[in-house]
């Protein structure tokens, strides 16, 4: 008898739990890549003007932070400037029984920033990787002045850091690489130091010069321009992504559909990135 009462109490608890949790909230939260914050805020701002009932809340923190928030359920959309990792997909499978939904929403090129006074104007991908890995430490090794190279980069939670590490450095960053909170800070640091080098979104390169990037010794140096990034001839080109736990519905779907429409894609170049087509 006692057991029956206990079981009945448990069932009531469960039903109450279900009831409380189905409270509907018509708000879309977007979290993740700092690279995408301005773009995402622009999208949200214009979308909310056109759809006064919609509420889109955008925050940064880094791609890793956004994907972690998606996995733990605290955001609807994770912005990421790198592809999702296998380990993150495994966590989505374990928690939500889905593979996640990947939506490429814009294109971006990663510039290699050099000080304007630096005589070096182009580097191969391998040289850039070796510089950031600490294997090349003096500019004279790549045709520059006899001066130590000062490195600036992003924090490990940044998708830009992850993408650059996986595709260019391909090993650990040099311990001497100073991490700064955001691409603007990197540009500012490179602007002030003639022997420095940094990386970040092509749109941020103001007051510094873009380094031409060669795929290898025999390839021509390519500068990150709208044309080379759109055509993916610039070697460090990437997609910017939105990730979801499962297929979007309701307001989230409407927002994403609008981002992928000509109206949403048309805003991308205004903030320095490039549309998908």
């Amino acid at each position: 008898m006692k057991t029956t009462k206990l079981k009945a109490a448990l069932i009531v608890m469960v039903v109450m739990g279900i009831g409380f949790s189905f409270t509907a909230i018509n708000k879309v939260t977007v979290k993740g890549s700092d690279t995408m914050v301005i773009l995402s805020q622009k999208w949200a701002e214009v979308y909310m003007k056109k759809n006064p009932g919609a509420s889109i809340q955008v925050t940064g923190g880094g791609s890793g932070v956004g994907l972690a928030a998606l996995i733990n359920g605290s955001t609807d959309i994770a912005n990421s400037s790198r592809p999702i990792k296998t380990s993150e997909v495994e966590k989505l499978k374990a928690r939500y029984n889905t593979m996640g939904v990947e939506i490429p929403c814009a294109k971006d090129g990663l510039s290699i920033y050099l000080n304007k006074a630096n005589p070096v104007s182009s580097l191969t991908l391998k040289q850039i990787g070796q510089i950031f890995a600490g294997k090349i430490t003096n500019w004279k090794e790549v045709g520059g002045a006899d001066a130590s190279i000062k490195l600036y980069g992003r924090e490990s939670s940044s998708g830009t850091f992850g993408f650059f590490k996986d595709n260019v450095v391909k090993t650990d960053f040099s311990p001497s690489c100073q991490t700064l909170p955001g691409t603007a800070a990197i540009v500012n640091a490179v602007k002030k130091d003639r022997n420095s080098i940094g990386y970040g979104g092509a749109a941020y390169a103001e007051g510094v010069k873009d380094c031409g990037v060669k795929k290898d010794d025999k390839s021509p140096a390519i500068l990150p321009t709208a044309a080379t990034i759109k055509s993916k001839t610039y070697p460090i080109t990437r997609y910017l992504y939105m990730y979801l736990k499962s297929k979007p519905t309701g307001e989230t779907k409407a927002f994403i559909d609008w981002i992928l429409s000509p109206a949403g894609q048309g805003l991308i170049e205004e903030v320095g990135y490039y549309p998908l087509k």
Binding site: V14, G73, A94, Y96, N97, M99, V101
Partner: protein, 444 residues
């Protein structure tokens, strides 16, 4: 007069000139003081930089250490008390205990990533009366291709259900055959893993492990080192298919376990065993008894009105069991087939459905047959009875750290009217041994 005017103009010019000179001198002082102030601040910044640099180094070192863990506290009601599962036998002659609060898990996992590709993992499990090590291993990743990783220490045996953490699992316990074939889930040894996704974008994972093979058999003192010279080898391959436009993902693979149980002692009057066909034999010290099986697995993930998954594993092979009284060092208390070599079979089928963001419903049917050669009334001992378990579970994810699970397990044993089975709990009846678990889990 002209001279006077010229003299006055010269005086005024001189005064004006003097004023300008005075103004210039004020400006010059202001720039100098500004420069001094900048220099002073620069010195302060440099001093701060010097102070921060060693702190930054300390913070960077600290960031290499990650601490995670979880606690599972639960309340269970049982139809009967099963000492094998719950760990404490009722006192003879007293009323059986039918419900209890207990701490199932209290684990803290320390992961230190010394360098890219070198990980140290230490995970103690805190129990009411002791602290037990669960995972302790060094993991070395190959830095050049990011494909291979070598694990050395104490770690999970490579199967899907074993490697799927109990913090994420959809049911209160793993399926019966997993608990029997892989007691305590872990073993000591070395494992080589190859994941071809990162470098080559081939969704294939291979695992080969060489293990002591005796973990969680006999007393805890046995776990320190191997008790025999033979090692067990496990090999597993998993391939993943993705169909993003359909919201579908399929992982499938196979495994092989190639091991044996070496007879390391014999009793004064040699213990007699029976083989897979029921024939008696007396093994000598040094003889190897079979412990090998093959298996297959599949996990299907489908995004239909939220997440849905279907998971299954199947194994078939041979396992040998030792009697606790004769071979206390080698007994697997969950495989009660005393002093026997048996052909075994096990599998599970589970269906899991997420409902909204916070709810998960799951159902599992799992089977373990400890003697595939006999069924029905041919079964003459409880140890050979086949078990079919149904488990129903509901999980509520309160927030990112806390979840509540309600799980109900109904083990259904094979019925045998064979008169050799005299235990009234099992004699041609289903043993009443259902369990209801209400579990609270906090994960960090």
């Amino acid at each position: 007069m002209k001279k006077v005017i010229v003299a006055i103009m010269a005086l005024v010019f001189g005064a004006v000139n003097a004023q300008e000179v005075a103004n210039d001198s004020v400006k010059s002082i202001s720039i100098d003081s500004l420069q001094q102030a900048i220099n002073l601040h620069q010195l302060k910044f440099d001093a701060l930089n010097e102070q921060i640099s060693p702190l930054q180094e300390q913070v960077d070192k600290m960031a290499k250490l990650k601490i995670s863990g979880y606690i599972q506290a639960q309340f269970e009601t049982y139809d009967t008390w099963n000492a094998g599962i719950h760990g404490v036998s009722p006192v003879t002659g007293t009323a059986p205990i039918t419900n209890s609060f207990s701490i199932r898990r209290a684990r803290v996992k320390f992961t230190y990533e010394a360098l890219d590709g070198v990980k140290f993992v230490l995970c103690p499990n805190f129990e009411i009366d002791r602290v037990r090590l669960t995972d302790v291993y060094v993991m070395l990743n190959d830095r050049w291709t990011n494909t291979f990783s070598l694990w050395i220490g104490l770690f999970n045996r490579p199967t899907y259900e074993v490697e799927f953490s109990s913090a994420s699992r959809e049911f209160a316990e793993r399926s019966l055959f997993t608990r029997i074939l892989y007691p305590q889930e872990r073993d000591q040894g070395a494992k080589l893993e190859a994941n071809f996704m990162t470098k080559y974008e081939i969704p294939l994972k291979l695992q080969v492990a060489v293990l002591n093979g005796n973990f969680a058999t006999g007393s805890a003192a046995n776990q320190v080192k191997d008790v025999d010279n033979s090692k067990d080898v496990m090999a597993r391959a998993v391939y993943s298919l993705k169909f993003p436009s359909k919201g579908l993902g399929i992982d499938f693979g196979g495994l092989g376990y190639f091991g044996n149980n070496e007879v390391i002692t014999q009793t004064a009057t040699p213990a007699i065993f029976t083989d897979e066909n029921g024939n008696k034999f007396t093994p000598k010290v040094g003889d190897n008894l079979k412990k090998e099986w093959y298996g297959a697995e599949m996990q299907v993930y489908y995004d239909f009105l939220g997440g849905t998954s279907f998971k299954t594993e199947y194994v078939r092979g041979t396992l040998s069991g030792f009697k606790a009284a004769d071979f206390p060092t080698q007994v697997n208390t969950l495989f009660t087939n005393n002093n026997k070599v048996r052909d075994i079979e096990g599998y599970y089928l589970s269906l899991i459905k997420n409902v909204g963001k916070d709810h998960m419903l799951s159902i599992r049917y799992d089977v373990f047959d400890p003697n595939t050669k006999k069924s029905g009334n041919e079964v003459a001992t409880i140890d050979d009875l086949k078990f079919k378990d149904w488990t129903f579970a509901y999980q509520y994810f309160f927030d990112e750290n806390i979840k509540i699970m309600l799980s109900y397990t109904m083990p259904l044993n094979e019925k045998s009217a064979n008169p050799a089975i005299t235990n009234p709990d099992f004699a041609n009846v289903d043993h009443i041994d259902n369990t209801l678990t209400l579990r609270f889990q906090a994960k960090f």
